[in-house]
């Protein structure tokens, strides 16, 4: 639809710094909008477990206390939601997914991950997208405990993909030898979700 101009639309130009940090079609949001498909699950820390299972040599299960004792790792940077807001310069703290996978030892045939959650949500990712310093399990946001509506006690954080991949209320990761579309991926949203390639919906 090249050449179309919205009569009378001027818009706000992004500050130069934002222009390079915002993927196509995104705008900078100062707040931290909440998005979810259903009620916020309330998970008691005493009952909380984090699992890594499926195609691994040593399935793992951590209690809250055990997870807190894992080597700390943090992320500082930008996050991008498919509903078009981006939050620039935010931070999260928790543990690197690399640490979890090292403990579980993925089998050679493992190629994909399904993140599964309290409340039933799922999302799928290629294993490569959660390895090599690209993904975390986080329980802190900007130095405070992660609020339940933002996925607390703990959520997955995969900041290089649209934020629906950063599953809230994470209960574990299941390693598979094939891809298995998750919740939104089965409802019209892109299977991969790279914001820089604007992979929002099926066929993008």
């Amino acid at each position: 639809m090249s050449g179309f101009v919205s009569r009378g639309f001027k818009g706000r130009r992004r500050p130069a710094e934002q222009a390079t940090r915002l993927p196509p079609g995104q705008y900078a949001e100062r707040g931290f909008p909440v998005l979810s498909a259903g009620p916020t699950p309330r998970v008691d820390l005493a009952d909380w477990r984090l699992k890594v299972e499926g195609l691994v040599a040593r399935p793992q299960e951590w209690t809250w206390k055990e997870a807190q004792a894992l080597p700390a790792s943090s992320f500082e940077g930008d996050i991008h939601c498919v509903t078009r807001w981006s939050k620039l310069g935010t931070s999260f703290g928790g543990v690197s997914v690399d640490t979890l996978l090292e403990a579980a030892e993925p089998l050679p045939e493992a190629s994909h991950v399904v993140a599964f959650c309290y409340g039933g949500y799922t999302t799928n990712l290629p294993l490569d997208d959660v390895q090599g310093g690209k993904a975390w399990v986080v329980w802190e946001h900007e130095d405070a405990p992660l609020p339940a509506e933002h996925g607390g006690p703990a959520r997955l954080l995969v900041p290089h993909l649209y934020f629906w991949k950063s599953a809230k209320w994470l209960a574990g990761l299941r390693l598979l030898d094939h891809d298995a579309p998750g919740f939104w991926e089965s409802l019209g949203y892109h299977n991969h979700g790279d914001p820089w390639r604007e992979e929002r919906y099926w066929g993008d």
Binding site: M1, F4, V5, S6, R7, G8, F9, K10, G11, R12, R13, G25, Y27, E29, R30, G31, F32, P33, V34, L35, S36, A37, G38, P39, T40, P41, T83, R84, W85, G119, G120, E142, P147, E149, F183, W184, L187, G188, Y201, W202, G203, D204
Partner: protein
């Protein structure tokens, strides 16, 4: 599944709903239809090529190539003041969709239906009620609509007509800031007591759709679960201005 391509729609009607909300009726060439509750992406392009995109819920029931959006003008917004202030009949608008497959209700999903909307969060719920009426469905339905005052209620006359049809729909308002003289309805935010009074008993296993600002959605969904409703039958959508942490 092919890509959702951008389409150039014609604005065929601009209809004020309240002081801050307008309905935009669009004729969308090649539109494949939608399901009530879905939304579209809208893209505006300035003369220098600068673009801004936002998502808006569809207010209308499926009706050929016609799509209606109801847009609330946010004073500090970039896109909504244009859509709900500048855009005129005869203008064109780029959009693609429909998007979203979960916050969707059609009469064959059954009920009973509990719809809880806050402010412009009523828009996708209205699409569901319009579809229900268009199909002649008598699935029992209750709408609980939270608004700052009566003047801000969107679709008020139409909701009155739909309720008066006597096909099993009831509409209840909660006016949170100001109430007209003699108002005997709710004059507070939606709370657990109200949901018990207006909503269905959990034993009837209603399908609940909750849409509005995060504070309302979080509170209502939490109350419904606490009252004993099955979380998997409570679907939520956030709408309107975003909260600052």
């Amino acid at each position: 599944m092919g890509r959702l391509s951008w389409r150039l729609a014609d604005v065929v009607e601009v209809r004020p709903e309240t002081g801050r909300v307008v309905t935009l009726a669009l004729a969308v060439p090649g539109w494949d239809g939608h399901r009530p509750g879905q939304h579209v992406d809208v893209r505006l392009t300035a003369e220098d090529g600068y673009q801004a995109e936002r998502a808006y819920s569809i207010a209308s029931a499926p009706d050929g190539s016609r799509v209606e959006l109801a847009v609330e003008r946010l004073e500090d917004g970039e896109v909504s003041p244009y859509l709900a202030g500048e855009l005129r009949k005869g203008d064109q608008l780029e959009l693609r969709g429909p998007v979203g497959g979960y916050f969707v209700w059609e009469p064959d999903r059954g009920g009973p239906l509990l719809l809880v909307g806050g402010g412009s969060g009523v828009v996708p719920l209205m699409a569901m009620l319009r579809q229900r009426a268009a199909d002649g469905s008598n699935v029992p339905a209750r709408l609980l609509y939270s608004s700052r005052d009566l003047e801000d209620v969107i679709f008020r006359e139409e909701l009155e007509r739909l309720e008066a049809a006597g096909d099993g729909l009831t509409v209840t308002y909660a006016l949170t800031r100001a109430q007209p003289a003699g108002w005997t309805g709710y004059a507070r935010r939606v709370d657990a007591v109200m949901l018990e009074e207006v909503g269905w008993p959990p034993g009837e296993r209603p399908l609940a759709y909750v849409c509005g600002p995060t504070r309302l959605v979080e509170a209502v969904a939490g109350h419904l679960v606490a009252l004993g409703h099955d979380p998997s039958r409570v679907r939520t959508e956030r709408f309107g201005p975003t909260g600052v942490p």
